[in-house]
């Protein structure tokens, strides 16, 4: 069933806002304003927007390290996400986490994790809690083609399949784990088939087709809510940048990036909106400009926000113990 014009427009705006957000992050990372390193998701917007867009606010989402876009769409104010990436006190996590560890329990963004494969088993817990408490919340865990090399993926899928836990494994296959192409580190032509060994339904999805992403996630969510267990969805996509901002990605063959840029998920939806749904270019440009303004505002908020009080480093280590400050 095709998406309605209204829904497609919303998803288009979501994707554009991810693109603009990431471009701003890239600029402020390159000019040294953002501390540390960042992982950008330009080119992968459809897979992020589609997954989050197909879920309920009450569903548990575990974005991965390349997940600024997904977390903005979970419901956190973008300016507070931006401030977190800048390491400022108004960041959604007070500057404790930064780019790689952003979470917001109020919208069930359960948080990034800097360790590949770590949240794949944590996700068992939120899914288990849904069955224990008899709620209909499903758990979506983002992973990459590289993640699948971790042993935790085996443990997680084995347990989720045996216990029929409501999990959607959202594998964004962006082709490369840093520099290693997935076909050089995995025997399967399509990683989705990896789930066959666990008798877990799986699909290969065009990850740059927002409609296909949404529909696949909706099917998986329905199965999960009915108690039929996990699904593995492999979204075929591509990251336009290197692994982290600053990686020139010299390991990619000539022409590969350009070929994928032709399959830009945003242009694709734009075309659909114009050709099928009768939107005008000016109308879509206006939406793009709104996204620009929103991101500019988020950046200004992050720039204006003060640094955290250094003593905050001692807060929240334990629920029951205050850590000693001997400095």
């Amino acid at each position: 069933m095709a998406l309605t014009k209204k829904r497609l427009l919303e998803l288009y705006c979501d994707m554009v806002s991810i693109r603009k957000f990431e471009e701003a992050v890239e600029n402020y990372s390159k000019n040294g304003t953002i501390p540390g390193f960042i992982h950008l998701s330009i080119g992968q917007e459809a897979a992020q927007a589609g997954v989050v867009g197909a879920l309920k606010k009450t569903d548990y989402k575990f974005p991965d390290h390349r997940g600024h876009g997904a977390i903005c769409l979970c419901g956190t104010e973008k300016k507070r996400v931006m401030a977190e990436i800048f390491g400022k006190v108004d960041g959604i996590n007070g500057g404790r986490g930064g780019s790689m560890h952003i979470n917001d329990l109020s919208c069930r963004n359960m948080g990034f994790n800097g360790i590949q494969g770590s949240t794949v088993v944590t996700a068992l817990g939120t899914a288990f809690a849904s069955t224990y408490k008899k709620t209909d919340a499903v758990t979506a865990v983002f992973m990459g083609d590289g993640t699948l090399g971790e042993g935790t993926c085996h443990e997680s899928m084995n347990m989720a399949a045996t216990w029929k836990l409501p999990i959607i494994y959202c594998l964004l296959n962006n082709q490369y784990a840093i520099s290693t192409h997935y076909t050089e580190s995995h025997p399967q032509k399509q990683l989705a088939t990896w789930a066959d060994g666990y008798e877990v339904p799986n699909e290969v999805v065009d990850g740059n087709d927002i409609e296909a992403v949404v529909e696949a996630v909706e099917r998986a969510a329905e199965r999960a809510r009915k108690g039929e267990g996990p699904t593995l969805l492999e979204f075929m996509t591509y990251r336009w940048q290197g692994h982290f901002s600053g990686d020139p990605a010299a390991y990619r063959p000539d022409g590969e990036l350009e070929a994928w840029q032709q399959k830009c998920p945003i242009n694709r939806s734009r075309k659909q909106l114009m050709e099928i749904h009768g939107c005008s270019g000016a109308e879509l440009d206006e939406l793009d400009a709104r996204a620009d303004a929103e991101i500019a505002e988020a950046v200004q908020f992050a720039l204006d926000s003060p640094w955290p009080d250094p003593k905050n480093a001692l807060k929240h280590v334990y629920a029951t113990v205050q850590v000693e400050d001997w400095k």
Partner: protein
Amino acid sequence: MARKLSYAKAINEALHQEMEHDPSVFILGEDVARMGGDFGITQGIWHKWPDRARDTALSESAIIGLSVGSAVCGLRPVAELMFADFVTVCYDQLVNNAAKIHFMYGGEASCPIVVRAVTGSGIRCAYHHSQSIEPWLMNIPGLIIVAPATPYEAKGMLISAIRNNDPVVFLEHKLLYNRKGEVPVEPYEIELFKAEIERKGDDITIVATMRMLDLAHAAAKELENEGVGVEIIDPRTLFPLDKRTIIESVAKTGRLVVVQEGPKVMGFGAEIGAMVSEEIFEYLRAPIKRVTSLDVPIAFSPELEDYVNPTMDHVLAACRSVMSF
């Protein structure tokens, strides 16, 4: 006469009572449900609460990962590591996940999990089932490491650990499982982060945990005949440590011997020794002594294993040495 229970039964009773007390408590691990655990510690729980006792695949990462995720959702999992040595295969979940949850969520969620881990040497299981893992975890702010020595402590501290909102690694020494002692029938809590002064004395402070306390008490009796008063402290919670009780004791006695199962290098004895010399060096009348296992893997053959671990004679020798200053 008060009722006596074994250390194993005391833990089992604590689990039953907490399952009864709080429906958010559940147990999971390898063979913990139907069979009641490899050491029988979880016996009877599955029969009463079949939905709240889960046998898992041999997947320690999944066991701890599931525990952490469910704890964030408000459940209180009690996971079993059949042998503490297996912490190596779920280390990421404890170190990078459980220990970081409260920090990461800025206090909006915590990680009230208990990981029961069967620790220590002495049952001829060799190097993969006999290690003392305390120091592997004591460098990780966010974790709590508990080491009960008696049935009374085991029950009370497990109940406290389950009710505590931080992740607790609850060490159970396999050689203590058959140890008997008085245990109240009703549920009770023993405060975490509080050391116990097991014996008063004025000349030497011995800090020891779990099985090593036996050596300390035996040495203390012997030294009493020589007119030397030994004060024995059981930290009970190894991390975060109750520094004050140890410091006050050593400030009084001026002499410290730490008796620790496990390799000397970077063991908790090193931390306690460094802490005391930093804080109250001027009160020390003798160098700090550590009595520990040798810096080797635990071997299988009884002759080999027994040679590696400390004995009462080693404790006596250390005490006489610090008295010679």
